[in-house]
Amino acid sequence: MESVLALGGFVLLRDSVEWEGRSLLKALIKKSALCGEQVHILGCEVSEDEFREGFDSSINSRLIYHDLFRDPLNWSQTGEALPGGPLGALQAMCRRTHPGPVTIALDSLSWLLLHIPCTALCQALGALSRQHAHPGGGSPAEPVRVLGLFHEELHGPGPLGALSSLAQTEVTLSGTMGQASAHILSRRPRQRPAHQTQWFSILPDFSLDLQGGPPLESQPHADPHTAPVDPTAHVTFNLHLSKKEREAKDSLTLPFQFSSEKQQALLRAGPSQATSHIFYEPDAYDDLDQEDPDDDLDV
């Protein structure tokens, strides 16, 4: 799970109804906050109080909450709501220029997809992960982490494919028998993606408890159809010769008889060889007597 935060970039957290991801999101936020990073949260689905519940005060003081839940369409006109709606809020995050590593949590991407077009969201996510990595002025790259919570049943394969192609790390939540597991797919640039399955549980104070394997009660089913395929299984000709067969094959006289010297000479033949040779080896039925051509006739 450390690799999720270490890699940086855009982390896509895919959850579902059975295995919810907000607690994992909060656990990751707590971990980043404890590392001393700035954490910005764009809250859309739950209220601020509900989100901050469970965090102690030190962490709560580090979290900067942008609330879109209370008044997303700015009906109250009090000026508290974020200008520009959801897209404006995202763009405002793009323009942050605070030094130091930053973690941005988007809760949730599904809500944002319902309100802004998918292409705009993808472009904003791209801008977010790129903005702090290359700040103007040539200072060294600061890691920016964007954690996005995505409810995968709400969307078709299109937005899911588009967002996962943008993500550097994709965490899919599943599990068995009450034990949650995270399937982590991390894509480093120009390297093969790495898969990892991590079993975990989240404690009430939102710290992560990583476990070694699945609980003992659930027996993982051995997949019968992942047995390696043997390509020599259903072949219609004989691939393996027994010893006797091999001997018989080696001692078989080939129909075109010639000696090994002739073979080597022919193999070595090249442009250097000016003259041509005639190799004649009489067959068993060849008649060497030139005078009587009918000698071999059985008359």
């Binding site: 077009p117 299109g158 395929v229 390509p231």
Partner: protein, 480 residues
Amino acid sequence: MAAVATCGTGAGSTGSIAAAASKNNVTSFQRKGPRASGTDSGCSRLVSIAGTRPSVRNGQLLVSTGLPALDQLLGGGLAVGTVLLIEEDKYNIYSSLVFKYFLAEGIINGHTLLVASAKEDPADILQELPAPLLDDNCKKDFDEDVCNDKTPDSNIKMKIAWRYQLLPKMESGPVSSSRFGHYYDASKRMPQELIEASKWHGFFFPEKLSSTLNIESCSLTHGYRKLLQFIQNVIYEEGFDGSSPQKKQKNILRIGIQSLGSPLWGDDICCTENCDNSHSLTKFLYVLRGLLRTSLSACIITMPTHLIQNKAVIARVTNLSDTVVGLESFIGSERETNPLYKDYHGLIHIRQIPRLNNLIYDVSDVKDLAFKLKRKLFTIEHFAWSHCSGGAFQVIAIITRVTGLPVCNRTSPPTFQPPSHLTHGTQVLHLAATAFASRLVRHSEPLKQTGSGRILQAAGPRLWHDGRRQEAPGLLAIPP
């Protein structure tokens, strides 16, 4: 090329004779034309640009794609004025590598580059180009790469088919210098001085957007329109379309567009199935092809077609591009653990070859192609089954070398396509040993004339025509 040479020398000889014969009066037999000279003057008929060569089949000007194996499969190279569309593999590892090979080939040949991307800064893309393999050490590197995967079976001296021991295997090694395609070392970066010496234009889409991302600017035609304007400006200002007379040598513009169609360009064909502006991408390709046809440029586009939801769009995009190559990597699929595929990293599908100034397609008969990224080199090979031993291997080796048809016993039944002159490639060969003893030449479709007017022989297989292409119908019997 030969034709030009002969009339060049002819002009020289008649010109000199005529000049010697009569200095004052001009005879009607005095040939007016380019004199035989080594360098091309302005009136040479064939443009001789660095890094290009005319096709041996129809004289079309070709550039190398950066992968000599891919050049061979495409019929010698990529034609100038056409689009090469690469369908990306799922994690975009190998398609970006092919993209970089194309750009690296441009730098080595001194072509001008135009790199457009919505994801990465073009300057960063250029920093990651692979280093070229120079002649003196590339042969050593290549040989040690080959030796590493040599199996003991390949050293069997053949008893029956001993004459074929001398035949070379598929040409996959480096050839001499001053050549058309170059080899690259994927583990090293291109030297900085080569990149700085080259001329390149970059188009990074997020920079061209206005600073406020409002909804209108995310409309589909905006990104594509800007890109087309940029390409058009570069072509016009640098004179690739012949509009402004170039004082110096003519050059090729290599255009590379990365991940076209992804949502970062503002196109939502990857996001939804019924999108509003589904014609934006197809319009872009149509206009781009028009720009390319009227200029000395070649374009490579990588597209994440596995994300496109509407299959009809993929078909339209394929029709609007000239050459389409699909990459399918085994990462994450069940084929990764399949021992049949263990030597390779993925499959290459040549989906379309253009028919430029020609009546026939220039399609290779080999349909099973697989690629692997060795430690340094990216190789494309016939997907041949190498798990058999003894006599069967000899037979299969002959058949692979002679006809170029791979012998492949797959666990899944082969998909039979209707016989056409394009698709008699993959034939599952059962009973290889008996097939060798008594070859049945059965023609599955009537003979046809090729564009050049040759009549194919009715009897006897046609072997080794022009390297690897075979216009004769299937050599071996299709199993019942």
